[in-house]
């Protein structure tokens, strides 16, 4: 969707404010929101793409006004209701409905260290999924404007770049976010010159690398 979250290249957002010696969380509730989200992960009630899209769907003025963890909390409540973990009535009352089933937590304290840090290598190799492009090839980011979730930023659409590296096979977010399947396909770093993206005022030396899936690209 062409939402306000897709902000690459926008002006007027103000200076970058850096906080010295910034804490990981600025208050206990932020820490709890983060932890709640992670603790619900093993239930697999939603995937990462659905989760990202839920934040994108916040009204634009709210999106810009809310802090990061305020957005996370809004998303979290929305998702646990939508996926039937809790009912809206339970959210309103703060109490489980009478006679509602009790489940057993999936994430135990003992499992936390291994979900945060581990040695599990990702698997992006699948010879049955054929890449549509190869390294060094000129490609154009398609000019598409889907109303659902997409990871093709607006600033790249219609622009021509060169495939810099093939990252192997990855889940396609545009379908995955909407329960329409993983549609695994190759994802590449595509190098766009700064001038292609932003015009002649940009440095002739600089470039932006964007990770793009097969379905976002066409031959140029």
């Amino acid at each position: 969707m062409n939402g306000v979250h897709d902000m690459g290249g926008m002006h007027g957002m103000g200076p970058i404010e850096v906080e010295q010696n910034e804490p990981v969380f600025h208050s206990r509730w932020e820490a709890r929101v983060y932890a709640l989200h992670r603790a619900m992960g093993p239930w697999r009630k939603w995937n990462i793409d659905t989760g990202r899209h839920e934040i994108e769907k916040l009204p634009p003025a709210d999106y810009l006004r809310m802090s990061y963890y305020e957005k996370w909390f809004a998303r979290f409540v929305s998702l646990i209701v939508k996926t039937g973990v809790v009912t809206q009535a339970e959210v309103d009352s703060g109490k489980p409905a009478e006679g509602s089933a009790k489940v057993t937590p999936l994430l135990t304290p003992e499992a936390v260290p291994s979900v945060a840090l581990n040695r599990n290598l990702p698997n992006t190799v699948d010879p049955s999924v054929v890449p549509q492009f190869e390294v060094g090839q000129r490609v154009r980011a398609r000019n598409i404007n889907p109303t659902g979730h997409t990871r093709l930023p607006r600033y790249a659409r219609g622009k021509v770049g060169v495939v810099d590296r093939d990252h192997g096979v990855h889940i396609f977010p545009d379908t995955s976010a909407h329960g329409l399947g993983e549609k695994r396909q190759h994802c590449y770093s595509v190098k766009f010159s700064a001038r292609e993206l932003w015009g002649d005022a940009a440095s002739p030396r600089d470039s932006v690398y964007i990770d793009l899936w097969d379905d976002y690209l066409e031959r140029a």
Binding site: G8, R28, M40, F73, P105, P109, A116, V208, D211
Partner: protein
């Protein structure tokens, strides 16, 4: 927010979906155990061990797994080497993707609209705001984390550090230098 979050937590605990002790463990992990010191160890190793550096640039997940620093939001790692002629900068314009296992959770400025909007269109201006003025002949490469690839910048080893140990070198590797908005610290 405090009360609203507490109410949702109690509800989920009562229904049995989450264990409050697991929440405590998660908070403790990201406040105390996972952070930029992890990435700094990887960088320092690459500075002192040429074959490790080669492995890191060739297959970052495998090289980082030697330390045990893979995990959620850091499975598909890519390491980008800064040189006197190339400067890499990492951003996520669409949300706030960040390599958690090696850098921890991102600072507010990384997640903010000013950084996300401007890093791709005016990287040199952004770097200037961080106090880093790059000569014209340095090539700036901005990496927009639009997929599940997570980028870690390998900053240049500072001059005058020949005699330092790997551990001492790791002290010079700042979070910002691994995002690409700064150079590594001086000894």
């Amino acid at each position: 927010m405090t009360l609203r979050v507490k109410a949702i937590e109690s509800l989920l605990v009562e229904k049995g979906y989450v264990d409050p002790a697991a929440l405590d463990a998660l908070v403790d992990t990201y406040e105390n155990k996972v952070g930029p010191r992890n990435g700094a160890q990887v960088v320092a190793r690459a500075w002192v061990d040429a074959s490790y550096k080669e492995r890191l640039l060739e297959n970052a997940p495998k090289a980082i797994a030697e330390f045990g620093y893979l995990g959620l939001q850091g499975e598909h790692m890519v390491v980008l080497e800064n040189t006197p002629k190339v400067h890499n900068l990492v951003v996520c314009t669409l949300c706030s993707c960040y390599p958690w296992p090696v850098l921890g959770l991102p600072p507010v400025w990384y997640k903010s609209s000013p950084y996300r909007s401007r890093a791709v269109i005016d990287p040199r201006g952004v770097l200037r705001e961080f106090g880093l003025e790059l000569p014209e002949d340095v090539e700036v490469r901005v990496w927009d984390s639009t997929a599940e690839l997570r980028y870690l910048v390998l900053p240049e080893r500072p001059a005058g550090t020949e005699g330092l140990s790997e551990k001492e070198l790791a002290e010079l590797v700042t979070r910002d230098s691994m995002i690409g908005v700064a150079k590594a610290g001086k000894p």
